[in-house]
């Protein structure tokens, strides 16, 4: 019988090393995998991890991919600190894209500096609307947010598909499921001439700093952390649990919505059915890989963006399936969780106990909640 035994003391260094260890183990397993697939493992790793960013164009594309992942993940770090498990960043991102697109299409002829902010705010509100539903369900009816947010991801995707096949379809688009191209005023300005790096990356970096300040300096952030670690202590100190729940969920939804509207007004420029290759889900891995810390999340989202690009690159130049991206994401999360468990517990192999009629007893009679 395998038994996990607590190690007694937690090592802070190991807690930070765990994501690094997970990344290394993922790479090692990748090497093994490529060998088994008869692909030169070293070449494959170079293709995935280095080739995509070997020139300035590549680095620029990395930033383009990082922005939405980073925005979603930094928002998730706040809710996750509150131990609210918002799995719905993907749906909130899609709703942000949809709301933003709707406004952008209404203002397609409009010109002026005010158009873009309105479009962006619409996107943020779209994400907040979507996470707000989960928040109301959680606060009012104690619904499990993991279930509601996952289910709402599918609803969001289907609403988006309906919109892009129906009301928002470009009337002059030869019946392709795409909206019209947005007006120039509704597009995010490019930050570096000649690349696709757009203003969304700057917004994402700003969000990182803002969340950093919120969580480490503000009393609101402190209350969110206390609520997540110890709801009883938060209640006794008079922290407003419901208000904090709304705040955290709306914040993460809003940032995911911003990620979505940033995609449609940035690299894409119109509403299409595939505005996200699962950025909202990848952000969950990123948030944990970055230890819910802004700096860690920044690094982890760069790595995740690289994996997206590397997966595509491996498909193009090595003929490997695109599922590789998902596989690497999965391995990363798996190894991270395994490392975390083994950091706090050691494995003991115990001989099976002789069968005894061990009677059934509850842990202790806790008569009161």
């Amino acid at each position: 019988m395998i038994k996990l035994e607590p190690r007694g003391e937690r090592s802070a260094t190991m807690a930070y090393l765990s994501p690094v260890l997970a990344a290394l183990l993922t790479m090692l397993t990748g090497l093994l995998l490529f060998t088994l697939l008869n692909v030169d493992p070293v070449e494959a790793l170079i293709t995935i991890l280095y080739v995509p960013i070997s020139d300035t164009h590549g680095i620029a594309e990395l930033c383009v991919k990082t922005a939405p992942i980073l925005l979603c993940a930094i928002g998730l770090s706040v809710v996750f600190k509150a131990k609210i498990w918002n799995i719905g960043a993907e749906g909130q991102l899609l709703m942000g894209g949809l709301f933003g697109s709707y406004i952008a299409l209404q203002l397609i002829e409009a010109e002026g500096f005010w158009v873009l902010p309105i479009v962006l705010i619409a996107g943020i509100l779209g994400g907040m609307f979507w996470s707000g539903i989960a928040a109301i369900l959680k606060v009012r009816f104690h619904t499990n947010e993991i279930l509601t947010t996952i289910m709402m991801n599918y609803i969001a995707l289907n609403i988006l598909l309906w919109a892009v096949h129906g009301p928002l379809k470009d009337p002059e688009g030869f019946n392709f499921p795409e909206s019209a191209l947005f007006g120039d005023s509704a597009l995010l300005p490019v930050l570096i001439e000649g690349t696709r790096v757009h203003f969304g990356m700057a917004l994402a970096l700003f969000a990182v700093v803002a969340v950093w300040v919120l969580m480490s300096r503000s009393f609101y952030g402190f209350q969110i952390k206390v609520m997540g670690m110890d709801a009883g202590a938060a209640r006794l100190s008079g922290f407003k649990e419901k208000r904090l729940t709304y705040f955290a969920l709306l914040l993460s939804g809003g940032l995911a919505g911003l990620a979505g509207v940033g995609e449609v007004t940035g690299p894409i420029g119109q509403l299409i059915p595939q505005i996200s290759p699962g950025y909202g889900y990848a952000a969950i891995i990123v948030a944990f890989l970055g230890r819910l810390h802004p700096l860690g999340i920044l690094l982890a989202s760069l790595l995740m963006a690289l994996l997206y690009m590397g997966g595509e690159m491996a498909q193009i130049s090595l003929g490997l399936p695109l599922a590789l991206t998902g596989l690497f994401q999965g391995m990363l999360l798996f190894y991270l969780l395994a490392c975390d468990v083994l950091i706090s517990f050691r494995i003991r192999l115990k001989p099976r106990k002789v069968k005894t009629s061990t009677p059934l007893t509850p842990l202790a009679s806790e008569t009161r909640g």
């Binding site: 190690r7 009393f219 202590a233 209640r235 006794l236 061990t358 509850p362 008569t367 009161r368």
Partner: protein, 515 residues
């Protein structure tokens, strides 16, 4: 049958158990003869629990051996221990609330239970024989804590028992219930059963036990015959020489009401909770009022309505110096000047994984540690340092995590944190529960000092000795109702015990509650 002479029934030889970061038992020797009532004395954390888990097969010692009737034996698990005739009554009962007494005992016995009606009959016979009448048909949630303990003891007695281990059995009983428990135990011992009585209450050990083994920091610090010792010498064995063991404090009575509860009724949402019934209480400035009671008689509900975790629709039910507060949330009551020390240190009083600085901020945020919504971390650190310094909290520093502190030190930190915010009213639940004697004395002194500065203090505790020591007025809560509150010198342990059992009848003045 058995020879009642040479080999002890149970003999522990050099038991050593190392936990990560803690040597729980260090070369412990212990002998219990048949028919002997043996006390295992020690403070919380002295290693008593580990030792009894070794005997009961729950913990495997690293070194040392266990002899049973003179023969070396390895107790592999509790099932084997029960087969050998060892019975154990834990401090926290393991009973299913919604099942009957018989069903619970049948579950505990496993395959040996036999037919339920025969078992019920046996339970009835055994419980009557030992003067602990219980009705086998009743469901556990309808029983009082004392009755539940009887179920646990009877569960051991329906088997062929040779050694009964009781872990802090009196902590949940009224003084009268304690007396009747002792009668049962003496009868049991006279029939040849050995009893290991684990306690930190010296008076009870003196009254009941033939021999005592005292543990301190995992080691045997002494053995004695309790009847021949006085409590001070035994206390010294328990805590060491350098700790003061007894003090008394002058009693005071205040006259200006600060905290008033008038006709507080509360319907508990918990199906097994206690409803509060017509609670009236006044705590004056400059006095400590103590509320005794057996756990689970409405203390938690009362404390939750005082802290603000449970709100009452009518604000005037609870007033702080005539300001209606019963409908205000905890932070607004704190803003008024309420300090609150909850029962759970880790979990409500402090966040286990947070540093002491952060835990200082947890309730200290109202005393100038914030500016414009931002935390003034420098001030919070200074505040934490002051608490650590003034209340002699042993910790690695303000960066230490709350759960790295011992219970006593964390409690000193929490009490210090509340007192240093100069509360006008302080409510403390079980302030010295599980705390070593040195820390308990420090906590009592801090409470007395705060009282002398004019604060109104309400202490809810299960420890009667503590309440008599520090309270100026005293009362008891039973089944959600509060007894009349009397000046402590006019009350007695017997009277308080009666009140804890729900008998509020009184010879004299009724008006003492609002003196």
């Amino acid at each position: 049958m058995k020879q009642h002479s040479p080999p002890p029934r149970l003999s522990l030889r050099g038991i050593t158990k190392q936990y990560p970061g803690c040597l729980a038992n260090d070369d412990v020797h212990l002998d219990i003869a048949p028919a002997e009532i043996h006390a295992l004395l020690g403070e919380n954390g002295a290693g008593k629990s580990t030792l009894m888990k070794v005997i009961y097969g729950l913990v495997k010692p690293d070194r040392g051996e266990v002899l049973w009737d003179g023969l070396p034996i390895e107790v592999k698990d509790p099932a084997q221990a029960r087969k050998m005739g060892i019975g154990m009554v834990f401090q926290h009962f393991s009973l299913f609330e919604t099942l009957t007494v018989t069903e619970n005992i049948a579950l505990a016995l496993g395959d040996d239970a036999g037919a339920l009606d025969q078992l019920a009959e046996k339970i009835r016979t055994v419980s009557e024989k030992y003067g602990m009448t219980i009705n086998p048909e009743r469901e556990i949630h309808t029983l009082s804590v004392g009755e539940r303990q009887r179920v646990e003891i009877v569960r051991c007695l329906v088997q062929n028992i040779k050694l009964l281990i009781l872990d802090e059995p009196t902590s949940v009983l009224t003084p009268q219930e304690v007396d009747s428990l002792f009668i049962t135990l003496r009868q049991l011992a006279s029939e040849g059963c050995s009893i290991l009585f684990i306690s930190h209450k010296l008076n009870e050990v003196k009254a009941l036990c033939h021999n005592a083994t005292v543990l301190r920091a995992g080691r045997v610090s002494g053995e004695c015959v309790p009847a021949e010792e006085d409590t001070t010498s035994m206390a010294k064995l328990m805590v060491g020489d350098d700790t003061p063991v007894s003090t008394t404090y002058p009693k005071k009575l205040g006259s200006t009401p600060l905290l008033c509860i008038s006709d507080l009724n509360l319907h508990s949402d918990d199906p097994f909770g206690v409803h509060l019934k017509h609670i009236n209480l006044t705590v004056n400035a400059g006095e400590i009022v103590g509320i005794a009671g057996v756990a689970g008689n409405g203390q938690e509900e009362l404390l939750a309505s005082l802290s603000g975790e449970h709100l009452c629709p009518d604000g005037k039910t609870i007033t702080f110096a005539e300001d209606a507060v019963a409908d205000l949330p905890p932070d607004q009551r704190r803003r008024w000047g309420l300090g609150f020390v909850p029962e759970e240190r880790l979990g409500r009083g402090a966040v286990p994984e947070m540093s002491l600085t952060e835990n200082a901020l947890l309730t200290g945020f109202l005393s100038g540690l914030l500016s414009k919504g931002m935390v003034a971390w420098k001030k919070a650190e200074t505040f934490a340092d002051q608490i650590i310094d003034q209340y002699r909290v042993k910790a690695a520093g303000r960066h230490a995590q709350a759960d790295s502190l011992s219970g006593g030190n964390l409690q000193k930190f929490i009490i210090g944190r509340e007192i240093m915010q100069n509360p006008k009213i302080l409510i403390a639940a079980h302030p010295t529960w599980g705390v070593d004697i040195g820390a308990a004395t420090a906590i009592h002194k801090a409470l007395i000092t705060l009282r002398d500065q004019g604060a109104a203090i309400l202490v809810v505790s299960e420890d009667i000795d503590e309440l008599f020591l520090i309270s100026d007025r005293i009362g008891a809560i039973c089944n959600g109702a509060l007894s009349p509150v009397k000046p402590t010198p006019e009350s007695s342990i017997q009277e308080l015990g009666r009140m804890m059992a729900g008998d509020f009848s009184q010879s004299a003045h009724e008006g003492s509650a609002t003196l």
